[in-house]
Amino acid sequence: MVEKKQAPEGETKKDHGVLYLGIDLGTSRTSVSSSNGMRETVSSYVGYPKDVVARKLLQKDVLFGDEALEKRLSLDFYRPLAHGVIRDDKDAERNLKAAADLLGEIIRRSKPRKDELVYAVIGAPAQAQIKNKEAILKAARQHVDSVMLCSEPFSVAYGLDMLDDTLVIDIGAGTTDLCRMHGTMPEESDQLTNTFAGDHVDETLSKLIRAKFPEAQFTVQMIKQIKEKHSNVADNMPPVVVNFPVKGKPTPFDITSEVRSACRSIVPPMVEALGELIGSFDPEFQDRLKNRVLLGGGGSMIKGLDVELERQMHEMLGGGKVMRVEEPIYGGANGALKIAHDMPAEYWEHLR
């Protein structure tokens, strides 16, 4: 039985059509693409003022994204989506609230009108547990009129119309998700996940720099920014020279080869996972699959990554062609929006 939500009295009647949203809920970033043309992205951080003083000072009950990160010392600070799913530890209850607030914020930023219904498709990591999916769904239902989940790599591929014989690689912050598409809904055996992703590059880069220049002082946050600016895996990459304080005095360091090595560290596990997914596929179509590898997610912005991946695929797998998603940040959200559009109206109605 489906119960239709009734608009409470006094609230504007939602009789002016539907706003469709595609939402990509990620460890490091949550993004939305919306049918009214809005696209927004916010770092997946949520913070609540620690006490009355902090609240007075910040003049807000809740902060999001980079603003929350910046003021985290006066906040109860949450990164509610570790590994892309709502965390379920001792803080489960509050994490869930933070996740719900984050979803509410991203939906607000997509500027729905008061008189339209909001239908959303949310891309969740391929391997999210049932319990986590439930949590995401619950959080979302507080803010939209109808909602569906779908697997994240699937939505990336759907957005690009690459539904058959394609290997999608989504390089996020916490995880790299690989998913094999072959014209049907991907199943468990079509998906592999490893933790060699953006955060791993940051850690590796920190380690390498610390080993070579023990006197340099830096934080992981600084390293992440450097990586996002200079990431490159090419043999002939432009030199990377950055300033780190040494005993308080800014000092230039050449970290070119460290940046390259750190960025390259995620490639071999990726090739290995590719080999597994290709090797267990119908032999007749293995070559085709090999030649349709699609790179997406923030980590795919590493320069030269497609070329390097192709090179290593040649070495290990005897060949391969790699393409990049056009908009790494919005690939998931765009795909989810396309699914929302293509979903028949009666399905949406049913889930209201």
Binding site: S35, E326, L351
Partner: protein, 350 residues
């Protein structure tokens, strides 16, 4: 709903892209197709006896015919990523992800559609036909976009010469490719030799010039390595010069490598952005049309945002419509299951 933007066919100031820009996008698409080895076809379409028609009935008829033809082309190609533009009196339509047979099918649709139309002029109704030349990239080896264009145009010419109202696909790839190669060779032969000499590195003095006054350190190093005495100065100078020349050569190679790499990286980025722009302008054009429609039907406005579902939603023309429908119902079913679990679960909230 067909989906390449009418904006790309109009010739007015308001166009998002000039024909030259669209041709550039076509080149980009063509290069991509070559790189990733997917098929694409080019149709070169011309209205038969356009000049006479114009003389007889004026430019109004031309615009009418043109409008109808663009409409037919849009519905015949059906692909969301087709590119179209006007080049002189020809219309070019590039349709990616399409095998050679696709060109013939599309051309037939346009020809049939055109034959079925009549145009009103001064109270008289007239029929107008078109000719179409086709070209594709389904052949081995490298070739250039210009060759594709020339093959298509040659097809159009043959179709017209044969009386019009037909589709011709010539197979003159090789011919035009060779012709282009010859032209290139001629040009190069005509160019002054200096242009073809390797580029000197900016700021680097010529090797010989350095050779005269190489710093002592280099001289001493070489003397050490080769066990030369003070008297071997001629030999020393020679070796020095060779060292400097080869160092410069190395530097130049290195520099070129870096340049090539960063250029190809930039090229990729430019292509990506260009494709993105094309797509956005597509939906912009469609949205414009849809808004226009909504305006004329104000009384039944279902809300502005809903328009996008019509514009971008699943079209029955989509080649994968059945598959997509099946996938949608799979997603839906999975969500119904999930919802059941929540609603019957222990900590149910709704």
């Amino acid at each position: 709903m067909s989906s390449f933007s009418s904006a790309q066919f109009r010739g007015s100031q308001k166009d998002l892209f000039t024909p030259a820009q669209i041709q550039h996008l076509m080149r980009v698409e063509f290069d991509r197709a070559q790189r990733y080895r997917y098929g694409l076809v080019l149709l070169v379409v011309g209205i038969d006896r356009l000049e006479q028609l114009q003389d007889l009935y004026g430019s109004e008829l031309r615009d009418q015919v043109h409008g109808a033809l663009v409409g037919l082309l849009k519905s015949a190609t059906r692909a969301s990523d087709a590119l179209g533009c006007l080049l002189d009196d020809r219309i070019l339509v590039l349709v990616p992800h399409t095998p050679p047979e696709g060109a013939a099918v599309m051309a037939k649709r346009v020809l049939d559609g055109m034959r079925a139309l009549t145009f009103d002029c001064d109270g008289r109704s007239t029929r107008v036909t078109v000719s179409i030349g086709g070209a594709h990239n389904a052949r081995k080896g490298d070739f250039a976009f210009d060759t594709l264009l020339e093959v298509g145009t040659a097809g159009l010419k043959v179709a017209r010469d044969g009386g019009g109202n037909r589709y011709v696909h010539s197979e003159l790839y090789e011919f035009f490719e060779k012709k282009r190669a010859r032209e290139r060779a001629d040009q190069e032969a005509a160019a002054p030799a200096a242009v073809r000499a390797p580029m000197p590195i900016a700021g680097a003095p010529a090797a010989a010039a350095i050779g005269d006054g190489v710093p002592h350190i280099l001289g001493e190093k070489i003397r050490d390595m080769f066990g030369l005495s003070e008297n071997d100065s001629a030999l020393l100078a020679k070796i020095e010069q060779e060292v400097v020349t080869s160092a410069l050569r190395e530097m130049k190679l290195e520099l070129e490598k870096v340049l090539v790499e960063s250029k190809s990286e930039h090229q990729r980025q430019i292509e990506t952005l260009e494709r993105r722009i094309t797509k956005l302008s597509d939906s912009l054009g469609m949205t414009e049309a849809e808004l226009q429609r909504a305006l004329t039907q104000k009384t039944v406005d279902p809300g502005v945002a809903s328009i996008y579902k019509t514009v971008q939603g699943l079209s029955s023309n989509d080649v994968q419509v059945q598959l997509k429908k099946a996938l949608m119902s799979k997603i839906f079913e999975a969500n119904v299951e999930l919802r059941k679990k929540i609603d019957t679960g222990p900590q149910s909230t709704s």
